[in-house]
């Protein structure tokens, strides 16, 4: 009896409850609108279906959001990821076009490696501005956000570069073990990040820096190095996302590649329950958040609304999530809902307390 109640309570208090519930509701809406929504069929040795498409389309946002999660956990933000993605696509595509044998595997590997190195350098540049010069993250990354698309256009010389390399396009449209390669890449990065942050002390150190950089430095945490690493990692993730997007169309358009992906990624992170005030993060939440955004993008045409109106729904999601997370809004709603039980306090009041502390910290 007591064990079941604690289990129920544990589920109810689990931070992933709301994001997963939202995702389930979204899927249900789809199934009601079109009962065949969840059908998955086997064709040419791959799985096909809406669900597989959603997994594949979630890859870029998930990649960017993973890097963003760690950045946000240090109480930062990275606005430049869209621009970095565009630069990654531009660098890779121009390398492939400029190579001797355009369709060779080595060409693709070299181009991808080269692009990712560039992205790590760009991420490290953001880290330099934030950690060494002490500029606010939002402003430091704004610089690259403004200049990045210009740089990307300078790389492609303002043209839409089209590439013809089967190995490169496999990044977006290939399948491994019946699943889309892009999704598997995102999953691999997720697993790598999870092991690195949750099986070592790194995750705790990142959270410590997010809660109080100065205190963690005095406690012997190398806050500067951690901040630097986190931004470089975010750059790397953004670069991978840019490559997947470029591979999807086999071309790079410096103006539109990864446009507003930073906002989608931040949305994914916020949906996943990571506080924008830093100090705690949830990679699993980010995973659910990215899948949620991809599902939302698929839902809107599925229930017969033009896909451009996606933005309207995203706005509603942003506001809803923020209100759910805002301690002040919770307080307002709680008072309205349950004005009577002051005695039954401990369970409901104990839960928002860490959230309040996290936001205020």
């Amino acid at each position: 009896m007591t064990e079941t109640t604690t289990r129920v309570q544990r589920v109810l208090r689990h931070p992933l409850l709301w994001p997963v519930l939202a995702l389930v509701v979204l899927v249900l809406v789809n199934v009601v609108a079109r009962p065949s929504f969840l059908d998955v069929r086997m064709q040419d040795g791959h799985l096909y279906g809406n669900v597989i498409d959603i997994l594949r389309n979630s890859a870029p946002v998930m990649l960017v959001a993973l890097g963003m999660t760690l950045v946000i956990a240090t109480r930062g933000i990275d606005l430049s990821v869209g621009a970095i993605a565009a630069i990654a696509g531009a660098v890779a595509c121009t390398r492939i076009v400029g190579a001797g044998d355009e369709a060779a595997l080595t060409t693709a590997v070299m181009a991808v490696t080269y692009a990712l190195v560039v992205c790590i350098v760009l991420g490290a540049w953001n880290g330099l501005l934030v950690s060494v010069l002490g500029i606010q993250p939002i402003i430091a990354t704004l610089i690259l956000m403004v200049a990045g698309r210009g740089i990307s256009m300078a790389v492609t010389d303002g043209q839409i570069t089209t590439v013809n390399n089967p190995f490169f396009s496999d990044l977006a449209s290939g399948f491994v073990l019946t699943l889309p390669l892009a999704f598997l890449i995102a999953l691999a990065v997720l697993a790598f990040t999870a092991v690195l942050t949750r099986r070592t002390a790194l995750g705790m150190l990142i959270e410590a820096v997010g809660i109080n950089p100065e205190a963690s430095r005095l406690a012997g945490v190398r806050a500067r190095t951690i901040i630097w690493t986190v931004y470089a990692f975010s750059g790397l993730c953004a670069g991978m996302a840019g490559l997947v997007i470029a591979a999807n169309t086999n071309s790079v358009n410096a103006n539109s590649l990864g446009l507003w992906i930073e906002l989608d990624a931040i949305l994914a992170v916020v949906i996943g329950g990571t506080s924008l005030a830093g100090g705690r993060f949830s990679l699993a939440g980010t995973f659910v958040g990215a899948i949620f955004i991809a599902t939302l993008a698929r839902t809107i045409p599925n229930i017969g609304i033009p896909s451009e109106i996606n933005y309207l729904f995203k706005a509603i999601v942003v506001i809803a999530v923020c209100l759910l997370q805002s301690p002040r809004a919770r307080a307002v709603f709680r008072v309205r809902r349950t004005p009577r039980p002051p005695a039954a306090g401990p369970a409901p009041t104990a839960e928002p307390a860490p959230a309040t502390a996290g936001v205020r910290a």
């Binding site: 002490g134 906002l263 309207l312 995203k314 942003v318 506001i319 923020c322 002040r328 809004a329």
Partner: protein
């Protein structure tokens, strides 16, 4: 000070020893940058030294000036408004659609201004009363405005209402030179905003909140009213900028003004306003817009440089100003 000296200082002495107050230094730096760019351009390209080029700068960037004014208010309180680009797009779309439906142009203008103001009000309320970070609340505004634009029409709608187009091309002649009404509206906005910030209780509260919100609250200033107010002003300015943009481009399109919020933020920063809030002037933002404008003009005069250099140079300028600001504030503290 002059009472202590035996002989009253000569005019030259006063000019020689004059040092501008520290708070004006960023403004002077931006002005010097603008004059320098204009001077270099004037020496290299013949046509650039024509005063009409300067006036055209105002005409071509009228919407950005108004946007910068609204953004200055927000940034002075330590906030940020990412939604302005989308609100501009929404404004052009509302204007185009209502005119297409046969509304009176004045009614259409009123509808645009009201929409922008209400959006700003909503964001301000979210930010102040629910403690949502300005960045994320205005992000919601960005999506909302862009989504509403698409909801009205996915395709571009051109504006050919006679009153509206005559308003767009109405010019005032100053001797040999001409100014469009849009530029005059933009300058009037700057003047009103400068007066409000410098001379009214509301304006001083804006600076106080940017300096330290808790202190402002403890001093009994009207923090809630002012904090919501700056987003209302920003929303109104974005709508007004949208109208000027519609007059400039004579169409409504959901793809208008993508990334324009970045230009506005860059102009404000280049104009010397501290992004952490509390310091800065609207006139600086005007100068910031003019600096961005002159770079655009120089690149188009040059002809060999591609347009994407504008973004790279903007980024470099932004970097320079942010780093200098950072060191200036660090030394003081």
């Amino acid at each position: 000070m002059s009472t202590a000296t035996v002989s009253p200082a000569s005019t030259w002495d006063r000019v020689r020893t004059f040092t501008p107050p520290g708070r004006y230094l960023p403004l002077i730096a931006t002005l010097a940058l603008f004059i320098g760019l204009f001077g270099v351009g004037g020496m290299r390209y013949d046509g650039l030294s024509d005063p009409q080029v300067l006036i055209s700068l105002l005409i071509d960037n009228a919407f950005l000036i108004v946007l910068g004014v609204g953004m200055t208010f927000v940034i002075l309180t330590g906030g940020i408004d990412l939604s302005v680009g989308s609100v501009v797009a929404l404004s052009t779309m509302i204007a185009a659609k209502t005119l297409q439906m046969g509304w009176s142009p004045y009614l259409s203008i009123a509808a645009v201004l009201l929409t922008g103001t209400v959006l700003g009000l909503l964001m301000g309320l979210l930010i102040h009363y629910f403690d949502i970070q300005p960045f994320i609340a205005t992000l919601a505004g960005l999506f909302l405005a862009r989504g509403l634009t698409y909801l009205i029409s996915v395709e571009s709608i051109s504006i050919n209402d006679p009153t509206f187009t005559s308003l767009a091309f109405k010019t005032v002649y100053l001797g040999d030179y001409y100014v469009r009404w849009t530029a005059i509206i933009a300058l009037a906005t700057v003047a009103v905003a400068a007066f409000v910030l410098a001379r009214t209780r509301f304006g001083r509260t804006v600076y106080a909140i940017g300096g330290n919100e808790s202190s402002a609250m403890l001093m009994g200033l009207r923090v809630a009213f002012t904090k919501v107010g700056v987003y209302v002003i920003s929303g109104f300015c974005a709508a007004l900028a949208g109208l000027l943009f519609a007059l400039y481009i004579l169409s409504g399109n959901s793809l208008h003004a993508i990334g324009m919020e970045l230009d506005a933020i860059a102009a404000v920063v280049i104009g010397g306003t501290l992004l952490t809030g509390g310091r800065g002037y609207v006139v600086g933002s005007l100068l910031g817009v003019l600096v961005l404008g002159i770079i655009k003009t120089l690149i188009s005069f040059d002809g060999t440089l591609s347009s994407y250099w504008i973004r790279i140079i903007t980024g470099v300028l932004l970097l320079a100003f942010v780093v200098v600001q950072r060191f200036a504030t660090r030394r003081r503290s």
